[in-house]
Amino acid sequence: MDWESLRGKLSYQGLLLGGTALVTSAALALASRATTPAIEAAAALDLKQSLAQVLPGQYDNDLLQDTVELPGPGGETVKVYRARHGHQVDAVVFQVSGRGYAGPIVCMMGVDRDGRVLGVRVLKHTETPGLGDKIEPAKADWIHSFEHKFLGDPPPEKFAVKKDGGVFDQFAGATITPRAVVKAVKGGLEFFAHEKATLLDAAPSQLAGEGKTQGSPTP
């Protein structure tokens, strides 16, 4: 075929663009189908690992099955994973998020039944490499500075980065990122204090259910 003359035609341009869009979107759709299960499996594994990191020690139940969903401070639904010894809820884990420099920062935090932070880990962020990414435990120890803290030590008004008169370090060149994480953790502790009764309610959620078991009788 004589591509040279064909390429000059007006209708060829439209067909070429349309064909390109068709081929590329088909490739993306296929790749998305092929990769989604693996990506979800990897995300679930990540979730399990980060649950283990913010919850030191052994627990009797499977956290991924024992969950409660509650309305969070911003009106969103917060999924809380509960860790038990016997029937008593010893600790809870939930996600909090803050607005970082370049987008949301999603953290996982573990809180024991007295309201102390067991651990915090950042699950997802898009902060500047080399500056804001010191919130990752692999890059710096900063994220460990929350451990054993509760609202009272430091007092709520000191629960902030040093620049704002608080007790937590900020990073050289990046204040917005740690400020967002500190604020998110503080919000998480306030959420825990507010919902303590529900969270520590001993009734285990239905195994297969979505965990909305407040007030519903367990068989």
Partner: protein
């Protein structure tokens, strides 16, 4: 122009993406806070560059001059997205390290630049070599800039390299200046501009000295103009 030695020399030095074409400065300045980040970005870009050069070169007969730019952009964006999804699904550990950089590759105008100025006019093999060499030249430039900024800014070199390359490469991680308090400016964006500027000046000085020497030595072969 299908002389591989010429392509190699062009990509690595004479026509280096950062130091000669002055392209891709946005991702360059953004990620070169450390040498390791520069290396990660460089390698990911190299992979995409080789793939996009080969793809566009093999389709060059069908792509008309009138709509070539949107076609290139759609192909490059698709490739980057495929790499992003593939790494996330199958090499999740590596994705956690490189994931940050991959989305930035779409806006790397060097890739579009090579598609337009090389792959569209040359056969697949030469385009692949061009992509590889341009990519390696880009990687070398990023590692150099990142290295300078990291040494001056935090006194280390290749910090956290084991996260990118695996624990075997932990030996690369050097703490050059013990008890160093850090020089923040070099890690911030202005430090990036300064490092690029000084390295660029150094390369120019080297090139002009070589050209002068070649001329003085009765020039057995014509030096670069």
């Amino acid at each position: 122009m299908t002389d591989y030695a010429r392509i190699t020399k062009d990509g690595l030095w004479d026509n280096n993406v950062v130091f000669a074409q002055m392209l891709a400065l946005c991702p360059t300045l953004a990620v070169t806070g450390t040498a390791t980040n520069g290396l990660g970005m460089g390698l990911a870009t190299t992979a995409v560059l080789v793939a996009s050069n080969m793809l566009i070169s093999s389709l060059r007969r069908f792509i008309s001059a009138e709509v070539r730019i949107p076609v290139y952009i759609v192909f490059i964006a698709t490739l980057v997205t495929l790499v992003d999804m593939g790494l996330n699904a199958w090499v999740h550990e590596l994705y956690k390290v490189l994931g940050l950089f991959i989305a930035l590759i779409v806006v790397n105008c060097a890739i579009l630049g090579r598609a337009e100025s090389f792959a569209a006019k040359n056969p697949v093999g030469a385009s692949a070599v061009d992509g590889l060499m341009m990519g390696l030249g880009f990687t070398a430039a990023l590692v150099a800039i990142g290295g300078v900024r990291e040494i001056l800014g935090s006194g280390t070199l290749f910090a956290n390299a084991h996260l990118l390359l695996g624990p075997v490469f932990a030996f690369l991680e050097l703490k050059l200046i013990p008890e160093y308090r850090g020089f923040l400016l070099m890690i911030l964006p202005p430090g990036g501009f300064m490092a690029v500027g000084f390295l660029l000046a150094g390369k120019r000085a080297l090139d002009s000295r070589r050209a002068a020497r070649a001329e003085a030595g009765a020039a057995p072969e014509p030096a670069t103009a």
